[in-house]
């Protein structure tokens, strides 16, 4: 009886995610920070799973960073978003999937605003028509790209060449999952598991053989926080946020971190370098940091893609110790080679955190 009750409650935390025909929009900053992640998402969905995912070069920024930094007003950002929806409508799609958590939160916010204030939507429609002569339909389903990978996590596990397991000891890798704040903290019903039990990344980790680490600051912000980072005077606050998370997860000795937001992997990765250079402290084993990945990179590793094709050489924290644990083969001499096979310059190594 109790079990049925729990099952019923859990069903309310689920999200309806259609299986096919998606209009995909990229993230501004993910393409710069982790350039292969979005390519891997399309590769997995189109070529591995045979899904129809459409994207257009006419897509622009959603305006989220400018909006959250209070650089542009809400009506401007709504008109930008209306234009993205117009592109989707013109392409004949109803399901909208975005790569960025900030965008996902913003799209959700804007659609909720329009539902609550229809006169505002009418005004934005007018703005868009005056500016571009376009019209739009709001998406029938809105999803974040991690929702789709979550939905197909078992299909990915079936095709897996490697698992999140320590090849030498057979022990599941201890994985810290970090979900972007704008995924389900603002609108809990829009994320898998809501704000209380977010399961989108934990589900992937469990399906692919890993063990999720539950630590006190698990739901704490990564430290990006827009103005906390963008304004240099506040940047220490951003750093302290990340420091707090690492201090909290350190006793659990995590092997890796998986994230689904553009800012989180960047800050959890780069701030480890800054903390090491300022305090001399590192959080991984043997003087290394804890490697941080996007969920597409982890999916790519599990499916057996070459780590350097996944763009893992763009990470600050060395990923090689984790690749060794998983048994993923890689060529160290290829790490800093360009697509043309020529050797790029090797970056300068930091003083206090070990790199390869």
């Amino acid at each position: 009886m109790i079990y049925q009750g729990k099952q019923k409650i859990w069903s309310e935390y689920q999200k309806e995610i259609p299986t096919d025909h998606w209009f995909y929009v990229r993230s501004c900053i993910r393409q710069t920070f982790f350039p292969a992640s979005e390519k891997m998402f399309l590769e997995i969905l189109r070529n591995r799973l045979g899904k129809d995912v459409y994207e257009t070069p006419s897509h622009t920024t959603c305006g989220g960073i400018a909006y959250h930094s209070e650089a542009i007003p809400q009506e401007t950002v709504m008109t930008i978003i209306a234009r993205q929806f117009a592109l989707m409508t013109e392409a004949g799609y109803e399901n909208y999937v975005c790569s960025c958590i900030t965008s996902f939160g913003l799209y959700t916010e804007v659609m909720e605003d329009w539902r609550e204030f229809p006169e505002l939507e009418a005004k934005i429609r007018e703005n868009l028509w005056k500016a571009t002569k376009r019209e739009f339909k709001t998406p029938k389903y809105l999803a974040h790209a991690s929702d789709l990978v979550y939905k197909f996590r078992n299909e990915i596990a079936e095709q897996a060449k490697f698992r999140l397991v320590n090849r030498e000891t057979g022990r599941p890798l201890r994985v810290v999952e970090h979900i972007g704040c704008h995924y389900a903290k603002m609108f809990p019903s829009k994320g898998v598991g809501g704000a209380e039990y977010p399961y989108v990344l934990a589900g992937m980790v469990e399906s692919w053989g890993g063990e999720v680490v539950d630590y006190p600051e698990r739901r704490h912000c990564c430290g990006f926080g827009f103005r906390q980072y963008l304004v240099k005077a506040n940047r220490g606050y951003s750093l302290s946020n990340t420091h707090k998370k690492f201090e909290s997860m350190e006793p659990f000795k995590p092997d890796m971190i998986i994230t689904n937001c553009p800012g989180c992997p960047y800050f959890l990765d780069r701030w480890q370098y800054v903390i090491a250079e300022q305090t001399g402290k590192t959080y991984g084993e043997n003087g290394y940091g804890i490697p941080v990945f996007t969920y597409e990179e982890v999916a790519g590793l599990v499916l057996g893609y070459d780590p350097w094709d996944l763009g893992l050489q763009t990470h600050q924290v060395a990923v090689e110790p984790l690749l060794d644990k998983m048994g993923v083969p890689y060529k160290p001499e290829d790490k800093y080679k360009g697509l043309n096979g020529k050797r790029l310059q090797r970056p300068e190594f930091p003083m206090n955190i070990k790199c390869c």
Partner: protein
């Protein structure tokens, strides 16, 4: 070590073992108004001493509740007991008696050590 122009800020974590609850309990026994404070800051805004020093009754009360008396008790030395805070307090806290009671309780605690 590299200077990036910013750094880690000290943790504001409170440790329950640092909070001297018996001392605050004694303060409440002597002056129950200490529990009435809603930390609105009217006392700090109207404080004559606060213009020239860091005297801030609101901060003192909050700090005592959080076990940080060492940082804030010295501020009370700047108080002239003029009573302007008592006039503006929306909760009618007897601030002068509260300040004198804080001095007595925490000085007594200090003497016991």
């Amino acid at each position: 070590m590299i200077d990036f122009g910013y750094g880690l800020t000290p943790s504001s974590t409170l440790k329950i073992e640092d909070v001297r609850l018996p001392a605050f309990g004694e303060l409440l026994r002597r002056e129950p108004d200490a529990a009435k404070c809603i930390a609105c800051g009217s006392c700090a805004a109207s404080c004559s001493a606060g213009v020239f020093t860091e005297m801030n009754l609101r901060r003192v009360i909050l700090s005592l509740q959080r076990g940080r008396e060492k940082e804030t008790l010295p501020l009370l030395r700047h108080c002239m007991l003029c009573g302007k805070c008592q006039l503006v307090c929306p909760r009618g806290v007897n601030t002068r008696h509260l300040i004198l009671s804080i001095g007595k309780v925490y000085q007594l605690e200090e003497d016991k050590r």
